[in-house]
Symmetry: C2
Subunit: 106 residues, 2 copies
Amino acid sequence: MNVLKLRDTHEFIPGAMKRTFLVENSPYFKIISFNLDAGVTFPVHSHDLDGEVSIQVIDGEGAFLGEGDTEIFAQQGDILISQIREPHGVRAKTQMRILVVIAPPI
Amino acid sequence: MNVLKLRDTHEFIPGAMKRTFLVENSPYFKIISFNLDAGVTFPVHSHDLDGEVSIQVIDGEGAFLGEGDTEIFAQQGDILISQIREPHGVRAKTQMRILVVIAPPI
C-alpha cells in the first residue's frame, strides 16, 4: 500500500513535456503523469500490442488527438479511453496535466 | 476511442455512496467513480486475486484505510496504490469523489 501525490509532480518545462513515472514496476498497470506546457503536443502514436490506455485531464485544457484529423476538446475531468493499438495523442492549449494509466504496462 | 466525463457523475446520495461504472467491459481494466457523502465509509475489503488497484481522490478529503487500524490522510490528488489482495478502503470526511482503476478487472 503506497500513496502517491499528484502535487509532488507539478513541474512544467517551458515549451516541453515533463514526464514522471508514478507506478513503474507493477505487472498490472503503469501510471504516468505528464505535464504539458501550453502549446505542446504529445504526438499521436500507437503500439501493436493488446491493451488499453486511459488519459485523464487533471488540469488545464486542450484536445485529445486520434487517427487522421480526429480532435476532441479535453478539459479537467475528461478521460480518453483508447486501445493501445489505436492512434492517440494530446495537444495542450493551456498548461495541461494528464494522468495516464496503461494496462497491461508496456 | 471514447471520452468519459467525470462531471457527468457528480451526484451524491445523502448518507451513502454513489457508484458509476465508467469502464466496465474492458479485458484490461475496470474504472469506477464513487461519490461518498460526508461521513461515509467504503469498508475495508480485499479479494484473493492477483491484481492491483489505484484509488485517486478527485475531490474532497478523508482517509485511505488499510489493514488493522491503518489510516492515511487523503485529499485531492492523492492516489492509493494497493494490491487487490491487500485490505483497502476509504472514509470520507467531507463529500468525496474517488476514481478507482482495477487491473485486471475483477
